[in-house]
């Protein structure tokens, strides 16, 4: 990491910390959701962008994470912060297990299997035998956490929205650090090698089976953590909010933000949070029409997404300065 990127990162983080004090509480809530999406997209990007495995069903892992958090808070009375690691662990396991059969599937077939997972998830959540915990079609309502008392004593009175934002921000920073560490080193290179040429990777001594299913697990873990945070932020989970369109939304975010790019997760999250809001004023169907056009348009014109375009612009700037 160069000095310049570090300073940019610190600047971004500083802005992120100031945001909740200048925005309205609704905007703060939206900003928190952007961070939630960013974590989920980071997870999907590790799988699809870095490891080249297509998933059209990541909404299912988001749903598992969200339900983990909601059930733990609703049934077991867990504190909200304790549900995050549990949701992450459950999704890590679920993703790893789904990744094992997925090992034998490539490209199109994996897309098919995960698509089936995404489509059938709401039905699984409505299943009457687990209704006692999941609340069936009605879902579960959970309460929004308040800022801890010691902050107020220290003279820093935060509203629940502001506190939630900072909580999500802290988790997001931690998850991005984990993700960055994961992809910059040995593991990341192994994942990319498998994506680019899995036979060559295997010949070089990479355990492709292990890495691929682990990538699935880790990716599901990120998305599950995001799901848990999302459930706490929205204060509500219901089966039909986790339909296949959630999975497609995540795919849109990854493609628009930029495949195989950590910063792309943030651009993608901004896109999927704010563009539907703007488009909604046009018509109820407009957000999806716009999503679809953007999906196809980005694949044709800008396959490396917003992150790729930003990188290109910076490099051009450098080039111009050095030649002058």
């Amino acid at each position: 990491m160069t000095k310049r990127t570090l300073s940019i990162l610190i600047l971004v983080l500083a802005i992120a910390c100031v945001l909740p004090f200048v925005l309205t509480s609704y905007r703060t809530f939206q900003a928190a959701l952007v961070l939630v999406y960013a974590i989920a997209l980071l997870g999907l990007n590790i799988l699809t962008g870095y490891n080249g495995q297509i998933s059209l069903g990541h909404g299912a892992f988001y749903a598992i994470g969200a339900y983990c958090a909601a059930i733990l808070m609703d049934q077991a009375g867990c504190p909200y912060w304790a549900t995050i690691p549990v949701a992450g662990a459950v999704c890590l396991l679920a993703g790893f297990l789904f990744g094992l059969p997925a090992l034998r599937l490539e490209g199109l077939y994996l897309a098919l299997a995960t698509f089936a997972l995404g489509v059938s998830m709401p039905q699984l959540l409505k299943y009457h035998l687990i209704e006692k915990w999941t609340g069936g079609v009605q879902g579960i309502v959970i309460t929004k956490p308040n800022a801890p008392a010691f902050l107020a004593k220290a003279g820093l009175a935060l509203s629940p929205d502001q506190w939630l934002y900072f909580f999500v921000l802290a988790v997001a920073v931690a998850m991005f650090l984990i993700g960055w560490n994961l992809v910059r080193g040995r593991i990341g290179r192994a994942l990319i090698a498998i994506r680019d040429h899995h036979i060559a990777a295997e010949v070089m001594g990479i355990n492709t089976a292990l890495y691929k299913s682990l990538a699935f697990g880790v990716s599901a873990m990120f998305t599950g953590v995001a799901g848990a945070l999302g459930a706490i932020a929205v204060q509500f989970v219901a089966p039909d909010s986790f339909n296949v369109f959630l999975s497609i939304t995540l795919l849109v975010g990854v493609v628009v933000g930029g495949l195989a790019s950590l910063s792309g997760a943030l651009y993608g999250a901004l896109f999927i949070q704010f563009v539907p809001n703007i488009a909604d004023e046009l018509s109820k169907a407009a957000p999806w029409a716009i999503f679809g056009v953007f999906l196809i348009g980005f694949i044709y014109l800008m396959p490396s997404g917003v992150a790729g375009a930003v990188r290109l612009a910076i490099e051009r700037g450098h080039h111009r300065r050095s030649t002058r």
Binding site: T48, G52, I54, L56, P101, R104, L105, G107, L108, Y109, A111, L112, A113, F115, A116, L117, V119, S120, Q123, L124, K126, Y127, H128, I199, V244, F245, I248, L251, V255, L259, S283, K284, A285, A286, P287, W288, A289, F291, G292, V293, F294, L295, I296, I299, Y300, P303
Partner: protein
């Protein structure tokens, strides 16, 4: 027994959509995720035509024609640029197509659920109660479509050219077949078959922009079960999936988990025998 017949009827519909998937797979080695939405969209066209006062069968034929043109156009305009792109790009384009068609249908025709007429009489003669007329008719239509397709691919020069360009594009080009147009024709035919499936399923599940997501999943399961490269297999697979769905739904797991049957079939087939029951195993050279 009743469930088995009902299963055969819905299975026939899955079979025709699976057939459409198989046709595109054969021509391009791609699985079209937007197939269900294409069928849904064309069914809306049929609905508008019927509502505008057209008779059922003229509207039916016109819709099949429109679907054919739509399929050709989609191949020419949207799919062509990513023909040789990596799988991820192609899948993303299909998904883009899916959401565009879905939201366009919602935009134009609204999200309220509409009923769609069945062309078959309300009651069977001789007081037969075992199977509803629409179910019987749907099976019949599926068989007719299958027979027509078989005849087309087997006996016409155009069908031969299409098969050739799917199997060996380079050699086909050398003998003067316009491979690109054959692909477009394949898309058109698949869209037409999908439109038939849509019009057959609409009286059962009612018409709304999301009506096809479940059917598409069953069609995937059917196509994979029969072998993604085998049209006959797709039909058998469709019937098996239809019966399985109805019998399991009625007696074992209840109606709420029906879609999970499709998920289990898809993952199961891909794991145990990825080439399906009637498919050929491929060996690729490294």
């Amino acid at each position: 027994m009743l469930q088995i017949f009902a299963g055969l009827a819905t299975g026939g519909i899955y079979a025709s959509l699976a057939l459409a998937l198989v046709m595109i797979y054969q021509a391009t080695h791609l699985v079209n995720f937007a197939q269900g939405e294409m069928a849904m969209f064309t069914t809306y066209i049929a609905w508008s035509l019927i509502n505008a006062g057209m008779g059922y069968w003229p509207a039916f034929l016109l819709t099949v024609g429109v679907a054919f043109v739509l399929g050709v156009l989609i191949e020419r305009i949207v799919i062509r640029p990513v023909e040789n792109a990596p799988v991820l790009a192609v899948v993303v384009v299909f998904i883009g197509l899916l959401v565009i068609l879905n939201s366009l249908a919602g935009w134009i025709f609204t999200y309220t659920i509409k009923s769609f007429p069945s062309p078959f009489p309300a009651e069977l003669p001789f007081g037969i109660r075992l199977v509803s007329p629409h179910q019987l008719g749907a099976i019949g239509v599926t068989i007719v479509v299958l027979a027509l397709l078989y005849a087309f691919f087997r006996f016409t020069p155009l069908g031969l050219a299409m098969r050739a360009s799917a199997q060996n594009p380079a050699s086909s080009r050398l003998v003067g077949i316009r491979v690109g147009w054959m692909l477009a024709l394949g898309w058109g035919l698949a869209a037409a078959v999908g439109a038939v499936a849509g019009m057959m399923v609409a009286p059962i599940v009612y018409l709304d922009p999301n009506m096809m997501s479940g059917t598409l999943l069953y069609a995937f399961a059917a196509a994979l079960l029969g072998g993604i490269e085998s049209p006959g297999g797709a039909v058998v697979g469709g019937l098996i999936v239809g019966v399985l769905e109805n019998v399991l739904g009625a007696f074992v797991i209840g109606n709420e988990l029906k879609l999970v049957v499709a998920l289990v079939v898809i993952v199961g087939v891909l794991l145990v025998k990825p080439s399906g029951v009637f498919g050929k195993t491929h060996v690729s050279r490294v």
